[in-house]
């Protein structure tokens, strides 16, 4: 095979910690090469080395057979390497074109030549089927579109090799399908791709080969067609992984969360939750299934006190908490794993230990009479770090330095450990590896079995189906139906989420069934 990139025995250290321990990755020309590993295994680090953001302590990098020294991202650009980061790097109030040319603006007679750039952007967009409007403002376009802008940015700079770091983590299923098509298109146009993802099915679908790393060490490279999700998972974790979490039947008792006729508006005063009714009982997991943007975020924020309720009521254990402050909500027995971990979940500039104490720092034994006992916080944090397998060098490491998945595990530990009567988990497994997902699901079920109520919001159908005891389908700000997982399937659920009634869904399914017969 002809290699466009060869990373040989790369070693990267952070202080005493070895994030990459002699890892080798060879990218063939025209190949989609998946990079797989647990949270904190060192995938992003390795890619940052390739992109010139980090300097390796050992090993060598060859591009098209020639040994190179990638001292900064500009060098990477010149070598035709482009990176689509997990967290986009776009200027919100600039247009697509402005964002793309940022850093190497084309000029004509000393003044900026936007229209020529826009033309080139439109052309590239057409060539790769990206469908991006060069004059749209970033703040007005969807996450999926923003990602395409990032892709365009690399193409505009002449990238031949594209690195995607968890591109699908924040996309809707529809957007994921489209992204996969785009990646295939890129390959037919002669590009080569390195893809990081935790979703094994995606790897099976699009990649040619997979390189697996575990705890900073290279485990090996396998050909996708000769492997299976099960094998990949066990290579990566080092043990067998169960995909479907075992759980017994639920025994719900009294109601913990009662939401009545709730109305919530977003920041532009548009009604996002419209007279919504919902209840969750002790001993059950209620999953909220729905397409992103149907009021899930507003519902959760209203329950937890982060957003004003316009009308209706929220009660916990029969006690009214409508429009109470977040602390009062927390103290009445609510735990909350927030949807956006960087916005709400963590103070990134604080040590991870402080973050683990974010909800309890003012209580005994972590503080007394307004004085914080930081030793107690350390001990408390160390307990959670160990119990929830948060891979970090310790409670004093800044939260920012943890890998995405490990940040998430710390948040989950913090919220579950308080043993709340109601645990709200919004996209709790976003960006987690399969082993960690299994672990989190078991924790949620454990809470349920201990007689607590769990409210799960997820965009992943199989997660909702696997974990919930009851599924409430949210559409356009209302719960339009409630189904039992064993009595439905992903297809019906998908139709309900699109706003169809159960009757309509049955009719559509029957029709499709007929079609199949005819064929």
């Amino acid at each position: 095979m002809e290699y466009v990139i060869e990373m040989l025995n790369i070693r990267k250290e952070f202080g005493n910690f070895v994030a990459n321990d002699n890892i080798t990755l060879q990218l063939g020309k025209g190949e989609i090469h998946a990079l797989l590993g647990e949270n904190g295994a060192g995938k992003s680090t390795l890619m940052n080395v390739l992109f010139g953001l980090y300097q390796p302590e050992g090993g060598e990098i060859r591009v098209r057979g020639k040994k190179v020294d990638i001292t900064d991202p500009n060098v990477a650009n010149d070598l035709g390497i482009g990176m689509v980061h997990q967290h986009f790097m776009l200027v919100e109030n600039f247009t697509v074109t402005e964002n793309i040319i940022l850093g190497n603006e084309p000029t004509k007679g000393g003044s900026l030549n936007i229209s020529a750039a826009a033309k080139k952007v439109a052309e590239l967009s057409r060539q790769y089927g990206l469908n991006v409007d060069p004059y749209a403002k970033i703040e007005d376009i969807s996450v999926g579109m923003q990602q395409r802008v990032e892709i365009l940015k690399t193409l505009y700079r002449g990238a031949e090799i594209l690195i995607f770091d968890e591109p699908t983590a924040s996309l809707t299923p529809q957007e994921i399908t489209e992204l996969i098509a785009i990646m295939r298109k890129l390959i037919t146009e002669g590009k080569s791709i390195i893809l990081i993802t935790h979703k094994l099915q995606e790897i099976m679908d699009v990649s040619d080969r997979v390189t697996v790393i575990r705890k900073g060490k290279g485990i090996g490279t396998v050909i996708t067609d000769e492997s299976s999700p099960e094998e990949l998972a066990s290579l990566m974790v080092g043990r067998q992984v169960v995909f479907k979490t075992e759980k017994g039947p639920s025994h719900p008792t009294e109601e913990v969360l009662t939401v009545k006729d709730l109305v919530v508006t977003d920041s532009r005063n548009v009604e996002k939750v419209k007279r919504l009714n919902l209840n969750v009982r002790r001993g059950e997991i209620v999953g909220i299934a729905g397409i992103d943007g149907n009021g899930q975020s507003e519902l959760i924020e209203a329950i937890t006190g982060l957003r004003k309720v316009k009308a209706g009521t929220v009660a916990i254990n029969g006690k009214d908490i409508t429009n109470k402050r977040p602390r009062q909500v927390t103290e009445s027995g609510v735990g909350h794993i927030p949807q956006d971990r960087h916005k709400h979940g963590l103070v990134l500039d604080f040590p991870i230990g402080h973050n683990i104490a974010l909800q309890t720092y003012y209580q005994k034994p972590l503080s007394k009479g307004g004085i914080i006992d930081y030793k107690a916080i350390d001990r408390f944090a160390e307990g959670i770090i160990e119990q929830y397998d948060v891979r970090t060098q310790g409670p004093h490491e800044p939260a920012r330095a943890l890998s995405g998945g490990n940040q998430q595990k710390a948040i989950i530990g913090r919220e579950v450990e308080r043993d709340p009567d109601l645990l709200i988990a919004a996209l709790p497994t976003r960006g987690l590896d399969v082993g960690a997902i299994e672990f989190i699901h078991r924790r949620l079920i454990e809470q349920r079995d201990n007689g607590k109520a769990v409210l799960l919001v997820s965009f992943e159908l199989d997660e909702v189906m696997n974990v919930s005891d009851r599924i409430a389908v949210i559409y356009d700000g209302m719960i339009i139906d409630t189904v039992i997982p064993s009595e439905t399937d992903e297809q019906e659920l998908g139709l309900l989420m699109a706003g169809h009634s159960r009757k309509e869904a049955a009719a559509i399914q029957a029709e499709e069934g007929d079609d199949k017969h005819v064929q």
């Binding site: 977040p326 927030p338 916005k343 979940g345 604080f350 402080h354 974010l358 307004g370 004085i371 914080i372």
Partner: protein, 348 residues
């Protein structure tokens, strides 16, 4: 090289580099750098009088530096330290002159008046930021001008058209015969002790209390702090008020210690603005602020001796002082250089 080593080495190397470039400037302009620096040295440490005056000069710099640093650490940019200092100065002098009380009450009361005035002056920008999201930089800058002219007007009114306030009573003074006699009758006063106590207070607030935890958290990430149950508006206002109180104390030191009264001013004292540099030099840590203030205070005071003792014009002196501070501020570059050097050594 250990981190600790680097942390100590960097400022030292910076100062030396600054002095070297300053020497070149003096030499090029036709003055003897050795003579110049001798004059600077004598101006700072030459005799007990100089030392006393240097310490006196450092005092308000520490407090102004704390004010800026505290705000920085809690996510705010307080450019209003100058104005808060001016109102603090006036309030302290007013209480010190207008009441006749026993010293144990009068002195603390006057000091508190200064702190309270500064706090009040910072409260408004805090409130505007908390309630209406108006950026504190604009408001605090404007509050500086308001402070300057309001205080000038108050002094005129109070003194019946004059240009200075009454003198404070002895019972409100920070001066002491003991310190004066120790330092050959310099204006050294007890303010330095208050300033150092405030350094400890800032460290304690930020590093030991739940209040400090919240203030820092809100400064870093308002959304996550709200999620964690903190009150955003309250913490923003509180941070500004504490910062303003430090600034007001800096003014009180001038009023109750150095001058004993207050004159109408044509312009700002500059201490509040220098406080920004002091805080940055000290990396916004309480101990660092002491370092920054010592550097600023001694250079500013010692430099006064250079025109007299070495006939170097005021302008050149200012350039030399600015160069030293400039190089210290460039410490980051030096840090980088050091870590490169130590890496190379390790590699061998």
């Amino acid at each position: 090289m250990s981190n600790r080593m680097i942390n100590i080495l960097v400022p030292v190397i910076s100062v030396i580099l600054g002095l070297l470039v300053g020497a070149i400037v003096m030499a090029v302009s036709g003055y003897d750098p050795i003579l110049g620096y001798t004059a600077l040295w004598n101006g700072i440490f030459g005799d007990s009088y100089a030392i006393g005056e240097t310490i006196r000069q450092i005092t308000p710099y520490i407090l102004a530096g704390l004010a800026v640093a505290f705000a920085f650490r809690t996510g705010l940019f307080n450019i209003g330290v100058e104005g808060q200092l001016i109102v603090g100065w006036f309030a302290a002098v007013y209480v010190g002159a207008a009441f006749d009380l026993p010293k144990v009450i009068h002195l603390p009361l006057s000091i508190l008046a200064g702190a309270a005035a500064g706090a009040l002056w910072a409260f408004l920008p805090g409130l505007l930021k908390a309630k209406m999201k108006i950026h504190e930089v604009i408001v605090t800058i404007m509050m500086n001008y308001i402070a300057l002219h309001v205080v000038n007007a108050l002094i005129k009114t109070w003194s019946g058209g004059g240009d200075k306030t009454e003198r404070i009573l002895d019972s409100a003074s920070l001066r002491s015969d003991f310190l004066a006699s120790l330092t050959d009758y310099s204006r050294l006063h007890y303010g330095i002790i208050i300033a150092l106590m405030m350094v400890v207070l800032m460290w304690f607030l930020l590093e030991k209390t739940t209040m400090g935890f919240e203030l820092k958290s809100v400064g870093f990430n308002e959304n996550a702090s709200e999620y964690g149950g903190m009150k955003i508006g309250k913490n923003i206002i509180l941070a500004m008020v504490i910062s303003g109180a430090f600034a007001g104390l800096a003014g009180a030191m001038e009023g109750l210690g150095t001058f004993g009264n207050m004159y109408t001013r044509g312009g700002f004292t500059g201490i509040g603005f220098d406080g920004i540099a002091v805080a940055l030099l000290g990396a916004n840590t309480p101990l660092g602020v002491i370092f920054g203030a010592v550097l600023f205070g001694s250079l500013k005071y010692g430099a006064l001796n250079m025109p007299n003792a070495a006939q170097i014009p005021e302008e050149i002196v200012q350039i030399v002082i600015a160069l030293v501070i400039f190089f210290v501020a460039c410490g980051y570059a030096i840090r980088l250089l050091l870590s490169k050097i130590s890496k190379k050594k390790e590699a061998k």
